[in-house]
Structure formats: structure tokens, C-alpha cells
């Protein structure tokens, strides 16, 4: 369902496009939101056209077919936006690792969490950069999504920092085997 909506949405928001163009739009605008390859996009375009939600607006060189959204397609996407009920993801690899983290020695877990925090700090920086340049058309289109991404990744970063401190604090109170572990748990 979501792939179709992503395709319809890109056609509705940014205008007619070929499968090739859409592949690039997915990559440029939707990369962190709904990832898709051309091998998924082309068949989906054919299905959407067969169902009348999009139509071939132009044919160009090299067999290029430019698709445009139809009124039916536009209605499908707006209805979906209004009526789809929010559902938190039920599969989250990061959260799974968080859940299983107590299986590691605290010192090891802290290291993992620090790497995680650093990773997400970097991601947040990247997205904030994008926000700076956000006056180009495709970015303006995704302004709210960008903001959501920043907030979600910031939340993960903060969690990782909290959890690392939580674990480090826990180890200090317990008798320690190695003198280095207090060092690695600092911060």
C-alpha cells in the first residue's frame, strides 16, 4: 500500500515523471522515508496505470513513458492521508538491540551505546544541513518529514546517551575487576 502512495504522492506533488525520474525522486527526496528501487517502481507503475490511478501522459525517446496522476489517483492518495490510522512500527532493529543489550557486559554495552549516539548525532547534523538549504522545491515538499526525522533521530541519540550513563553509573557501584572499566565508562 505505501509504495503506491509514495508513487502517487510524488506524481501529485512534483508533477508528471517517468519511472526513471521517479527512481531518482525516491532517492533524492524520499530516501529516509520510503526507500524503493527501480525494480519495484516499474511494475508498480504498470499496475497503477492498469487501475487508472495514473496514465501515460507522454512518450519520449528510448521508450520513455511519462506518467501523470489521474483524478482517481489524487483522490486515492488524499483519502489515504486522511484515513490511514497511525501505527507505530512493530519492527525496529535498533529497539531490538536496545532490548537485548543487557546480554552484554555493561562495559561492552556502553561502548555500543556510545557508537550509536555518535552515529545518530552525525545523522542529525546531516539533516539539519538539509534544513538549511531547504528552499529548493523538493525539499520544501518534505519540510515536515525532515523535521520529523530530526526529532526522531535526536530522540534516539539522547536515549543512547542516557542509557550509556545509566549503565556506567550501575557499574561504578558494583565492585570492578579492571581499573580500565571506570575509564571507559566515564562521561
Amino acid at each position: 500500500m505505501s509504495l503506491r502512495m509514495a508513487v502517487l504522492g510524488l506524481l501529485a506533488g512534483l508533477g508528471p515523471a517517468s519511472g526513471y525520474d521517479l527512481t531518482q525522486r525516491f532517492d533524492a527526496s524520499l530516501a529516509f522515508v520510503w526507500y524503493a528501487q527501480h525494480s519495484q517502481i516499474y511494475p508498480e507503475l504498470n499496475r497503477l496505470a492498469a487501475e487508472g490511478l495514473i496514465e501515460v501522459a507522454q512518450e519520449g525517446p528510448r521508450g520513455r513513458k511519462t506518467y501523470a496522476i489521474t483524478p482517481a489517483g489524487r483522490e486515492a492518495v488524499t483519502r489515504w492521508l486522511q484515513h490511514a490510522e497511525p501505527a507505530p512500527t512493530r519492527r525496529n532493529e535498533g529497539a531490538l538491540r536496545a532490548f537485548l543489550l543487557p546480554l552484554l557486559d555493561p562495559a561492552e554495552a556502553v561502548k555500543v551505546l556510545q557508537r550509536e549516539a555518535a552515529f545518530y548525532a552525525e545523522r542529525v547534523r546531516e539533516l539539519q544541513n538539509l534544513r538549511g538549504l531547504a528552499d529548493s522545491a523538493p525539499h520544501r515538499f518534505g519540510r515536515h518529514a525532515l523535521e520529523l526525522g530530526i526529532r526522531q533521530m535526536t530522540a534516539i541519540r539522547e536515549w543512547a546517551e542516557w542509557a550509556a550513563q545509566d549503565l556506567a553509573g550501575g557499574t561504578e557501584e558494583v565492585a570492578e575487576k579492571t581499573p580500565e572499566s571506570s575509564e571507559s565508562a566515564e562521561r
Copy 2:
């Protein structure tokens, strides 16, 4: 990969269990983290046993087989925890809707966002409740994951509120800012 790690992790952290038990553990402990049905779990158990990462520890009535993790299995899961690199989800239906939201009239979009905010506020309340009762063994095991869930859902709730105001505020006001870090998951 993650399904196996979830199974191995549950066996490592909460002790030996049958497929039936594991189905319930997934449901009770891992519901918001890594969802799985028995139809996925049983075949995975057979594969894991074939590879020597788990073994049948006991056979009971009704064909019940209790599995225990092996040293090889324990190593596999701890190695995964240490070496898996963090990767933000590349498919997020909520973020996709956020991205496409400008396709709606602002008034409609605001309604959607308010429903979203209410939904996540409720979810956060549920999880905070769990945190209150969190001294039972399975919950203690997932304490960090619970905290992560609360923070992530709070971030979404706050985003939805921000976006709703942003849209309601309309075209004249341009200045808005994102809090660098919100005191979302306070205890």
C-alpha cells in the same frame, strides 16, 4: 537476521522455552520491538537447531519441545549486538505521510496531525504505565527498550503538535524553531 537474534536473545535472557512459550514472549515483551507470529517462529527454531545455535533441552507432553541456547548461539547474539551497525529505518509509513501531508488542504492536514498527536500521547501513556510496573523479570529485561519507545513516541507526538501549529499558523509567520533537545522522557 533480526528474527533469529530476537529468538536467540529471548532464550539467552529469559531461559529455555518452547515455540509456544516464545510466541507469548514475543507478544508480551517484544510486541513493540520485533513482532512475530508462531508461523514464523517454529520454522526459525528448526533452522536454528539445525545450525547448532539452539538445542532441544526437554521434550514434554503434546509434542512440546523446550529449546535452550547453545554456547555458539550465545556467541552469535553477543557478536551481533556488538558489531551490527546502527541503521535508521529506511521505510517509515508515518514519515511518508508527513512527507505527503502538503497534498492536503492545511485545515485537513491539521486534523490528521491532531489525531496523530492524540494517538501517540495515548501510546506514551501506556508505556509509562508499563514503566511503573517494571520490576517484574521480563520488564526489567526490556527497561532500556521501553525507555527508547517512550522517547521515540514522545518525539512523534511533539512533532505532530509542532506541525499542526505550523500549519494552523499559516503562511504569514515564517519563524519557527526546533528544540535542540526536548525534555521528553522525564521521570
